[in-house]
């Protein structure tokens, strides 16, 4: 049956919430199916036009429906991966972890960079071009400072007041909440609740 491979692409999205390696092979197969459907339709359409062979029309219509279905599956596959990638921008920041990066194809990496650029431009424009960062203060604030444990070697971190601290694995710190928020989301720091 037509459309089975396109369906497989979408089931893959449904089964795994992570970004899997881009399924180039399967996309190629769907595109091939589209090409052969299209070629058959071109041939049939010519026959209809030249020989007035109207009996071929229903088959042309059927293939046309299958072509649209395949196109939808491919675009939905790309679109839903893009949506997940977009979420990552907000969760993890503008640099993707290598585990994710290796699963993307070039065009997706390009898209991600363009999205970063647009977003940065938008954030810079806020407050009459003074800029306002939308990726901190994402959870309701409770206290100014939070006690954190460093769970991964991170290196130097500069605070708003110019103070530089060294984040080494298994060290404890009392830091401004807004500084910690992204690092906690990325799993570098752990919030120690009191």
């Amino acid at each position: 049956m037509y459309g089975r491979k396109g369906f497989k692409l979408i089931s893959e999205l449904d089964l795994y919430s992570d970004i899997l390696p881009f399924n180039e092979a399967l996309i190629k197969e769907v595109l091939q199916e589209m090409q052969s459907l299209y070629d058959a339709n071109v041939a049939n359409s010519n026959a209809i036009r030249n020989d007035n062979n109207m009996a071929l029309l229903p088959s042309v219509q059927l293939r046309h429906i299958a072509l649209k279905r395949n196109k939808r599956c491919i675009l939905a596959y790309i679109y839903n991966r893009m949506r997940k990638l977009k979420e990552l921008r907000w969760e993890l920041g503008s640099i993707l972890p290598p585990e994710i990066n290796t699963n993307l194809i070039n065009a997706e990496v390009q898209w991600f960079q363009s999205y970063n650029k647009s977003l940065a431009k938008y954030m810079r424009s806020l407050g009459e071009d003074h800029g306002f960062n939308l990726t901190t203060n994402m959870v309701p604030p409770k206290t100014l400072y939070v006690e954190v444990k460093c769970v991964e070697d991170f290196g130097k971190l500069e605070l708003d007041d110019g103070q530089v601290i060294l984040l080494k694995k298994n060290t404890y710190h009392l830091l401004p909440r807004s500084v910690c928020e992204p690092l906690i989301r990325q799993g570098i720091l752990e919030h120690k609740s009191t």
Partner: protein, 202 residues
């Protein structure tokens, strides 16, 4: 996420693409030259009038809706009288996902095949949903519910169950802990988990 909108089908909707792959029994009404292979039992090159085939919904519905219908379709038995009566009697005890994992989605499509049955099927879907909602709500309010429960529900109910359960878990956490803690992103947690698994494989 700031916005949490309920499901409604759109071009990119995974649920809609999956549910329209469900098979429908069709009868060919107009010969389809060169497409005999679509019926695996068929030997000839053309798909002949009168042949019975199982087409996916995404194909069956528009073929039927063509000006001169290329196929006629049969409403699946789970939406016919006998099955509707089972639901009327005791909808809550049915493992509806076994009837079809997209019971409601499919029903909303196939009712359009028959003007005569449109209202009856709609009414049956609605009553079924209403009488099972208490069950879906109760399961979702019990944060500790068995995760396999969701497999017993068709997609529309399952999505409600999962989203209700998620909200309930958050509420229970809040009631227990009060003030919120800054937490690691779920994505990061998954990445780390996967890394660990890889190490274990090595």
């Amino acid at each position: 996420m700031a916005c949490c909108q309920s499901y409604i089908p759109d071009y990119f909707a995974i649920t809609d693409i999956l549910s329209t792959e469900e098979r429908i029994s069709c009868k060919i009404e107009v010969e389809l030259p060169g497409l005999g292979f679509l019926d695996s039992s068929c030997q000839s090159e053309n798909l002949k009038v009168g042949t019975k085939v199982e087409f996916p919904l995404w194909l069956a519905e528009p073929l039927k809706n063509l000006q001169n219908s290329v196929v006629s379709v049969d409403i699946p038995k789970i939406y016919k009288e006998g099955y509707r009566e089972i639901l009327e009697a005791d909808a809550e005890v049915i493992v509806l996902s076994k009837w079809n994992p997209f019971y409601y989605e499919l029903g909303m499509h196939v009712r359009k095949f028959s003007d005569r049955d449109y209202e009856i099927i709609t009414e049956s879907l609605l009553q079924t949903f209403k009488s099972r909602f208490q069950l879906v709500m109760d399961w979702s309010q019990n944060a500790m519910s068995d995760p396999t429960l969701s497999i017993q529900l068709p997609r529309l109910e399952r999505d409600l169950f999962l989203i209700g359960q998620q909200a309930k878990i958050r509420l229970v956490e809040w009631l227990k802990m009060g003030t919120n803690e800054l937490v690691v992103s779920e994505i990061t947690t998954n990445l780390k988990k996967r890394k660990r698994e890889q190490y274990e494989f090595d």
